[in-house]
Symmetry: C2
Subunit: 547 residues, 2 copies
């Protein structure tokens, strides 16, 4: 399976379209991110393991070089990567630190006399784990604490040779096969250990921190924590790539399940032909909202891709685009969870057929299940979203410091009045404007509530920040998803408005309404609690969700 | 993998405890069902494929003989099955009919002169499909339309020889390996085709319908549809066995995930040791309600087992126990869905580790995913529940025919008043009585609403029953689950009351409260819409669910 996947990767990356895509990455051609993302989506529909493995080599390894290295690194490493002279891997996660990557323990100690870094795995918890392409790859982008004169400058990324072109490991490198997983059997994950592996000084990807021949450390960002944030932010495109892969998976699963539901017949009126199972009310109710979500995610993630492209084209550091960071982290969590739930329904709605590997749905499920974990656990991603939102909010408040808190409360009150009035109006429930206002309202109220809670805990109760934050985690995840839902619905509405063909537009609008209704429907308890909906309006939305 | 599983089955069934369990089944010893169910649960925790394969041979094949055959069949077939002289399979599902099994097309035509039945697969849709143990089994319990003089008496079950003790197929039998599935790789599923396979007249399991030497058909149940219902009802114990297997899976998954969460550390207060991940609010909120549900299901399914045992011991036909039929069908759907959702959270809460096969959770997920489909698709199961509930309800109404409808409405009104009053009382939200009343209320209102809707559609609007039923399918599934939730919470409360140890009781009570709170919390929108909860009480329940 792994050999086959490796052959597929080689074949795929030899295709002119894909060679061009890597070349665009090297040249930073306008919109290269969006184009690559769509290629990734299509590739993952053809074969998920191939898509993921290409992602590891070109998005993660290649992306690290492009985003964290200087121009010399790009020339030296990306060109031969495109020509398939070698393949790479991305070694960030360690046994001891998967989510809290800032605390990784692998060491890169600068040896002044040799002008080299010495890469070491000081303990079992520092082993690099789950590393994709570990059994085949030649080079690894290794994250390690950069140590100069016994002092750490925080995690940095280094190119470390793992095995030569004949596949023999270099001295000091140990690789252990991690063997069987739930899915992605074509992707070889392994454990890496380094024992005094020496690499030239130039192998440090030095965009955010460099070491001169004199052993002096230089960085454009003074604060260690801010520096690492900038590095992580630079890797944003590969995070968005997961969303595109998850969408590919949803679309393929839905295509199979919906087509099957239109051909399979079971039960029916007495003495008449059995009906197509799509005509069973529950079948439609289970599948159609997923289709609406897949469409919504398409527009939201393309929007994120466009923003990324603009920032990169303008040479803006991604860490400075807080809303974009929040959006990409949130989309990763939202899309991968939606994918899990969508495929589960596709599997169940196709009965025994859905359980057979030959019909693809169960294979897709197993392959993509890990998407909720990789490139950052979803619950951690949602925290990233809120951290970015709060940073924005705090900035806003600082700009109008005097009466900001009071004013917020007043605004919140008038919101409630205005929207409750809307909710009493019979006609509006079925309108996109009603749904848009509702998701807006939810996001705002959750955000203000969270700010107030954390402020109270930290400032009044003197709790330490970690425990205050932790006791609000559920609130945080709700706000995070509310934010992503709002942006996603907005982008869907824009797509409807900009659709050039009338017939397409009508159809798209129906799905947009279904999507918005689903969002409000699933949170209607919250809307009722906040008196945004009356019981009667809520029941009307319930009926609307059933159509 | 299949060979290994076969060896495990052979070894397991040779254990004295299990030989005794089969012997109990032969002798119909008191409480033999409950004891076997628990053995099934434990076995499935040791190895799911072994558990499922034992289930096929002893519950499904053996159960068909015990429940559908006469005493002679039991003596002739169960004894050698227990001694492992041969193994069996259960062949009901066909390519064309999985859920609507009443419409299966395999034929068993009586040949008077030879005193034999001729088993035939008349078309591709009549092929027996997904048959477990198809690649190893010697005999199959085959469901086929019993045809005498060109007229079908509906589906009956026949013992059909498939292969001899050396593994060679008998003439006229074709078996096709169905190969790869999402999980249960140790279970061999296949397709069976019959071409004029002749079996002696005695191989008809004739408890509910027999053919004499004179070719005359006899049955204690005149109506064909009622007769088939009686046969299906007799197979109830094997349906309950799936619930026990799903519980075994949940308990194993939770044990692994919760223990891991108590040892893994990630993130923490500044400059202090990282905290155990169970201390992250979201981790507890994701895992603990599943643990509460696993406990609740334990008591509810043991209760169902006890009822089954009593009925069987008293010689009562299971089809006459409508509440029991509803309970077992509902528990099968509820428990298998809860298992899917529980394992998904266990998988996600253990991160990358949860994706590795060696840590069992992902394997359990793949193995048990099909539980939502087999022994009857869950959505079909929920319809069985409501069919039984409505049959009870109709009977009730018939007994007090004059003012029944009016009276129902009055009762419904007073319910609302009484319970709304409760909801305003601050103290009661955290009490089991409050939660019990709430789930009762929901079930009653949903049931009355459904009766009224169907009555209106069929009697007033003159819709045909199928389309009326179909347009209420969502309502039906809600009622079904509401019923099972109510019974499950009641059984959990009883278990708390009867717990002999004070410390255990206190702990159990906490989980019982959590379970009840979860039930009301997840439906709080509905309670708000029905003014059973006020927004303030609802928020209180929200806080309670967060504890």
């Amino acid at each position: 399976m792994r050999t086959l996947t490796f052959q597929r990767v080689t074949f795929t990356m030899g295709l002119p379209l894909l060679k061009r895509a890597i070349q665009d990455q090297v040249e930073k051609t306008r919109n290269f991110v969006s184009r690559s993302l769509v290629i990734g989506e299509v590739l993952s529909m053809a074969d998920m393991a191939t898509g993921v493995k290409c992602g590891i080599i070109y998005w993660l390894f290649g992306g690290a070089i492009r985003s964290l290295g200087g121009p010399a690194h790009v020339t030296q490493w990306l060109q031969p990567l495109q020509e398939q002279k070698y393949t790479g891997m991305f070694a960030m996660t360690e046994r001891g630190h998967g989510s809290n990557v800032r605390a990784i323990q692998t060491e890169a100690t600068f040896d002044f006399s040799a002008q080299e870094f010495v890469i070491d795995t000081p303990c079992k918890n520092a082993e690099k784990m789950y590393i994709g392409n570990a059994m085949y790859g030649n080079y690894a982008a290794v994250f390690a604490q950069l140590i100069i004169n016994g002092r750490s400058q925080g995690p940095h990324c280094f190119i470390v040779p793992v095995r030569d072109e004949n596949g023999s490991l270099y001295p000091g490198v140990t690789v252990v096969d991690m063997m069987h997983k739930e899915g992605l059997h074509g992707v070889d994950n392994g454990i890496l250990r380094f024992d005094s592996v020496r690499i030239p000084r130039e192998n440090l990807l030095d965009k955010f921190g460099s070491v001169g021949p004199d052993g002096q450390y230089h960085s454009p960002i003074k604060d260690k924590s801010a520096r690492f944030n900038a590095m992580l932010a630079a890797l944003t495109p590969s995070r968005l790539a997961v969303t595109f892969q998850a969408m590919g998976s949803m679309k393929l699963g839905l295509t199979i399940a919906i087509r099957y539901s239109h051909s399979r017949r079971q039960f029916g009126p007495k003495a008449r032909e059995e009906v197509k199972i799509i005509e069973h009310q529950t079948q439609t109710l289970r599948l159609m909202p997923h289709l609406a979500t897949a469409l919504a995610l398409t527009f939201a993630s393309r929007y994120a891709g466009t923003l990324l492209d603009e920032d990169i084209f303008r040479g803006k550091e991604l860490v400075d685009s807080r809303p974009l960071q929040a959006l990409v982290a949130g989309l990763k969590a939202y899309s991968t969870w939606e994918n899990v739930s969508c495929l589960q329904d596709c599997r169940e709605c196709t009965g025994g057929m859905g359980y057979m590997m030959e019909n693809q749905i169960s294979g897709l499920k197993c392959d993509t299940d890990v998407f909720v974990t990789f490139e950052g656990d979803n619950v951690v991603m949602l925290q990233v979203v809120v951290r970015e939102l709060l940073a924005q909010y705090t900035k806003q408040c600082e700009e109008r410091p005097v009466s900001s808190l009071l004013r917020n409360w007043v605004e919140s009150g008038s919101d409630r009045l205005r929207t409750s009035f809307l909710a009493f109006n019979m006609d509006t429930v079925g309108h996109l404007t009603f749904l848009l206002k509702a998701v807006h309202f939810r996001e705002r109220i959750l955000q203000r509530g969270l700010v107030a809670r954390i402020y109270y805990k930290v400032m009044t109760e003197k709790e330490d920040f970690f425990s205050a934050w932790n006791s609000c985690l559920h609130h945080i995840t709700c706000l995070s998803l509310a934010h992503i839902h709002r942006v996603t619905l907005e982008q869907f509405c824009l797509a409807v408005r900009n659709c050039p063909d009338q017939e397409d537009q009508d159809l798209l609008k129906q799905f947009c309404l279904l999507y918005g209704t689903k969002l409000v429907f699933q949170e209607r308890a919250w809307y009722l609690e906040h008196k945004y909906l009356t019981p009667m309006t809520s029941m009307r939305i319930r009926r609307q969700a059933r159509c």
